[in-house]
Symmetry: none
């Protein structure tokens, strides 16, 4: 997937209800609540009764909007595996700043967004392996899209003479995993993980910018 284009919409799930508007809203709501409940108990241990309770509905009522428990996985993928569109929009608001500044700001923004969607990150990390082939492809495509967003900034920085990067894909990958593992390790290590988001963002950004910065060192040393 090349950056910027909209991700294909996934297939619809079977429902009993006919009111498209209502069904759409409820599906979104169910996916939203379910992904939170999955956080605590995982997909298998979470019962439809649990999900119903989280949604304020009787278990049977869920089936007006979804076809099966498995379909909830699908809904979550469609709703919560966004590509890089939001980041591209954010980038366009930054105005006329250096590529270094663009990268710094986008990283910070990305870290904040990921941090605020802990449930989703945990969910995909844990349950990703049980997704249907099609849903997995969708999620992978959304990740690849976000990765390519950061690569694009890196390449533009190289062209602008600001960056020096031997492997843009790997650096973009590192940005992604810094964000992802922030969530995962915060969840897993709990109080043994002592960074605040701001500290973590600042330190990792410093390391990243070091990595991509032009080095005059050797030239200087010669002098």
């Amino acid at each position: 997937m090349t950056g910027g284009q909209t991700l294909r919409s996934a297939t619809e799930v079977r429902t009993y209800s006919n009111d498209k508007e209502l069904v759409g809203q409820r599906r979104y709501y169910i996916a939203e609540q379910a992904v939170k409940v999955f956080q605590d108990k995982g997909y298998e241990r979470t019962t439809m009764r649990d999900i119903g309770k989280a949604c304020g509905m009787a278990p049977g009522s869920l089936y007006h909007y979804i076809g099966s428990k498995q379909d909830i996985l699908h809904l979550i993928c469609v709703r919560f595996a966004p590509g890089a569109d939001a980041y591209r929009r954010y980038l366009s608001t930054l105005g006329d700043v250096s590529k270094t500044e663009q990268l710094r700001k986008c990283i910070a923004y990305y870290f904040r967004v990921i941090d605020s969607s802990r449930h989703v990150v945990s969910f995909f990390n844990r349950e990703g392996y049980r997704l249907a082939e099609e849903d997995r492809d969708y999620v992978v495509a959304s990740e690849v899209d976000r990765q390519s967003f950061f690569e694009q900034i890196l390449r533009e920085g190289i062209e602008a003479g600001e960056f020096q990067v031997s492997n843009t894909a790997l650096v973009a990958y590192n940005i992604m995993i810094y964000a992802q593992t922030w969530v995962l390790r915060k969840v897993f290590l709990r109080n043994r993980f002592t960074f605040t988001l701001e500290e973590y963002t600042e330190e990792q950004t410093r390391i990243l910018l070091d990595t991509v910065a032009i080095r005059n060192c050797h030239v200087d040393k010669i002098e």
Copy 2:
């Protein structure tokens, strides 16, 4: 936890058998097979029958060696969440080389070990949240131990004048997550993840060493 000391042994599981030796072997074997089977279907979807089949035993026979299905999680933690002892032994074989070389070698070794225990990495990533408090603490301690192993090298490098690191914990953390995400993303992204282990190791090591290298740049520039 400070590096070097042995991790506390976890509590024993209840068994029917009296032959301690045999029971110990079988437990290890069951944990070993189970963690492989969990890879495909996850903990919940894996039945005791599945595990029995993987072990060449009848499902009832498993209960001579384990107390419950949940106990298998415990066994896996005890068996497969090693601290840094193996790495310390490896380090001691390297002889008289620079700290930079030590770090480079230990990273490569660490990446190889992690790569060869994909099942275990996937398992802890996916099922970690369902561990008993005690087991989770054990696993966390083993990770902290390994992290402190790398921190130790970094600190020694700083003392030796080879490294310049503002946040040793974070750099050690990065080494750990580079290794961990190598496995996770290889599993999740499949053929869209195109690095070989050697390429990945080399590139990430270069970035890491850049990060910790002494910079004369700024000083020189001032001149």
Copy 3:
């Protein structure tokens, strides 16, 4: 039950509506549609939603005309388990013909009617066992009435010296089951049941008339 009298009307079902005329029409309509839908999926597997769809109504609307799903069984019995009145009317139109001709014509007419109400025959065959005692009695009475209709013709034929029948009940019974099994086996055997209705009617009528015909054989032989 002796032939000719009207079958007792079954008890009314509870409804919400007050417009007796409309309610009566709708009830008939619902029974008519339902019996068709039951053909495919049987009573239990047919949902109120299915029946509603077949009637062009929302499932909730059905309950303005019926009291429960079970009531539909009752309605079908009342509407579609007719006695022999229609056959008596038909018989009265035949004019002045021999009893043999009356029997032949009535059998053909009966077979045609039964053939055109396959759904109903299949329904009673399959679901008869689950009818309420009262409804079952009603259906049985309607069958007995039809059987007695044919018996009446046979007895008249005997009195007229045209027939010689040792067991009128059994011959009448055979006429009934020839018609009924025509439908049932056509449905069950499908393309392995190769008779057309006309062939089947002709052949079975021949056998029946053989059975009831006066035999002069022995007398002739004496000559």
Copy 4:
């Protein structure tokens, strides 16, 4: 299917158990008990708990021997839809008697067998429509086999100069439906169906033999 050859065995159902011997016995037993329970409540209304109770087993235990509730239908077909082999064996024990006597005896035997398997007859009549295509084919084949058994006797009777039959298939069909409807109407009409099996057999046999008997009547009349 031509007479005499063994009906193909239907596909096996999935089971948890490995003991072929035990599984075979239990399957037979379950089918046998289930078909009785279906008699009262029909397939859909019969719960697995009901079937388990009838078998003296817990509901879960049934699934060691069957794959699903639907599979019970399959088992019943395989176990209780016999071809004509038993009748052919019976015929071979009759010794040297006329074809008329053979037919009479076989009809009586057939009626007795059918009468003693009421449950099965009712079952196939009621639930036949929901059988899998393959199972339905199997049952139909068994019926066709039995029909062809009677046709064979009729044809041999014609060759022997004992019978005169215009449509052997239809006469054989009538024998079958006389037997089948004996059960069905006894169940449905209950106390309004007043024949005993012996009366019913005798009367229907008389009618059948009349139908197939050589008629000298017309020849005599010509004289």
